[in-house]
């Protein structure tokens, strides 16, 4: 227990790295997910097949394989590119590789979530907004988007929880997140059980706090919605976003 107290600043620092990584990844995932959903809803033949290839890769290849490929392969590819233009060699940091990988993977899940949320909005609402004289942009901003957020929140919460857990693999390429630092502490103190148990507690804490946050957000975003309608919709919604459910 004393060792744990002595090392708690280190673990806290690691937890901050984990949270930062998760937030950066989720930002990228939201961008990719938005693009993917847009490609699937409104895209032509080419963009739709591009989106299909994207989801197929994410469904078929485990996260760690993708991450090692991006970290080691991406580094070499980037260096070859930069050198061919006469530049110096560059370093891909584990943080960057981790963000790109996890953002890439969960972008595919979010694309599915966003698409489902978009399809849950009745078409008539946009039509009504347009007929009231709202422009395309303001119809999207004031009518579609707030409802999109409400419909996407439960799925988004699930994806976020899974995303936080999958940041653990970035310790494999040497990022000093909470897992990486605990590994170091475990090796120097020879108390691996204690430190990995502490890591599990850290992850459970992050999960619990963000779970409560999402519950609050969901409540906030469905304030104006009648209770019965909400209950009915929850039953009809595809769990976790159809073909892609949450990974670990």
């Amino acid at each position: 227990m004393e060792t744990l107290i002595a090392f708690s600043p280190l673990l806290l620092q690691g937890a901050l790295v984990t949270i930062t990584l998760a937030l950066c990844s989720v930002a990228l995932a939201i961008a990719l997910g938005g693009l993917g959903a847009w490609a699937k809803i409104a895209g032509g033949w080419f963009t739709r097949s591009l989106a299909t290839v994207y989801t197929t890769i994410v469904r078929g290849v485990p996260d760690l394989v993708l991450m090692l490929l991006i970290y080691f392969g991406g580094q070499r590819l980037l260096n070859q590119l930069v050198r061919s233009f006469g530049g110096e060699g560059v370093d891909v940091s584990p943080f960057l590789a981790g963000t790109v990988t996890i953002g890439f993977i969960f972008g595919a899940y979010l694309a599915e979530t966003f698409r489902g949320a978009y399809l849950a909005i009745p078409r008539g609402q946009v039509e009504a907004a347009r007929s009231l004289g709202l422009g395309k942009f303001s119809a999207l901003w004031t009518v579609t988007l707030p409802q999109l957020i409400r419909h996407a929140l439960p799925g988004f919460g699930n994806v976020w929880l899974v995303l936080v857990k999958s940041t653990a693999i970035v310790s494999v390429i040497g990022l000093e997140d909470v897992v990486g630092l605990a590994d170091k502490a475990a090796k120097s103190t020879r108390e691996p059980f204690l430190f990995f148990l502490a890591v599990i507690v850290v992850f459970l804490a992050i999960t619990a706090v963000s779970g409560a946050l999402f519950k609050w957000l969901e409540k906030r975003y469905s304030q104006q919605v009648a209770v019965e309608e909400d209950a009915k919709e929850d039953g009809a919604k595809p769990a976790g976003g159809g073909a892609l459910a949450a990974a670990r």
Binding site: G73, R76, K165, F193
Partner: protein, 251 residues
């Protein structure tokens, strides 16, 4: 040392493909026997973990759905911890963590727990067991009331109602979600390579390190995982077609 696949083959390259060069697909073909053994190890670990996990999940889900006192807190605690933390950390905890205790090192389980293979299997089993418990619990809770009432009306005992009506019906309802669980266990099994097991990714890393290349091993591994995933998806569709036939006809 794995149960079915046996020892990994020696790293001597296949003489037929040797001399084709040391890059690209030639490198993967040259070591096809390593990758084949890796695929065997991956499938073996995944299959064993799923089967053992199901053995945990069925009684655990029953107890949860029934609200058995005492067992309820224990099981929901287990499910919460294993679903709420990363599989990587669970594997570390078992593989590196347990050896911290002298009691474990002196116990009869030590020959197993010092071996990465058994630790990986234990971690995977507990992990998929927790996820499967949650899936099954949901399916059992959602049993239509009429099915139970029908069983009662037919005079079936409680035991028979469980085994003949409740569980088969719950398994059917759980089938679609369980296919995701299978895929995730397959993908989750890459964690084995982190604790020194030569599964598909482990072989990919070995080949990359040996030839000092960055893509070949990982791309081969990625392709193999993709092929396995889609083979499982296709096979599973057949299973669903068989056991959910009554739903497909209705559509």
């Amino acid at each position: 040392m794995s149960l079915i696949c046996g020892r990994p083959p020696r790293t001597t390259p296949d003489p037929f493909f040797d001399g084709w060069g040391d890059s690209g697909a030639a490198l993967a073909l040259k070591h096809w026997n390593l990758f084949a053994h890796g695929a065997c190890t991956t499938l073996e670990l995944t299959a064993f973990a799923l089967i053992l996990g199901l053995c945990i999940a069925v009684p655990a889900a029953m107890a949860l759905a029934r609200g058995t006192p005492g067992a309820k807190w224990l099981i929901s605690g287990y499910v919460y911890v294993f679903r709420g933390s990363p599989l990587l950390v669970q594997a570390y905890l078992i593989y590196y963590g347990l050896s911290q205790f002298e009691a474990v090192r002196d116990s009869i389980f030590w020959p197993f727990l010092r071996d990465a293979y058994w630790c990986a299997l234990l971690a995977f089993t507990l992990n998929t067991g927790a996820y499967t418990t949650e899936i099954l619990r949901g399916a059992i809770v959602n049993t239509p009331k009429g099915e139970i009432e029908g069983a009662k009306a037919l005079g079936l005992s409680r035991f028979k109602t469980t085994w003949l009506i409740e569980l088969p019906s719950a398994f059917r309802r759980a089938l679609p979600q369980y296919s995701n669980e299978i895929i995730f266990m397959l993908h989750g099994s890459v964690i084995a390579s982190v604790i020194t097991i030569q599964d598909i990714l482990g072989v990919g890393r070995t080949v990359n390190a040996k030839y000092y290349v960055a893509y070949e091993g990982f791309i081969t591994a990625a392709l193999l995982y993709m092929v396995l995933t889609f083979m499982i998806v296709i096979a599973y569709r057949q299973v669903e077609r068989k056991y959910l036939a009554h739903l497909i006809v209705g559509r």
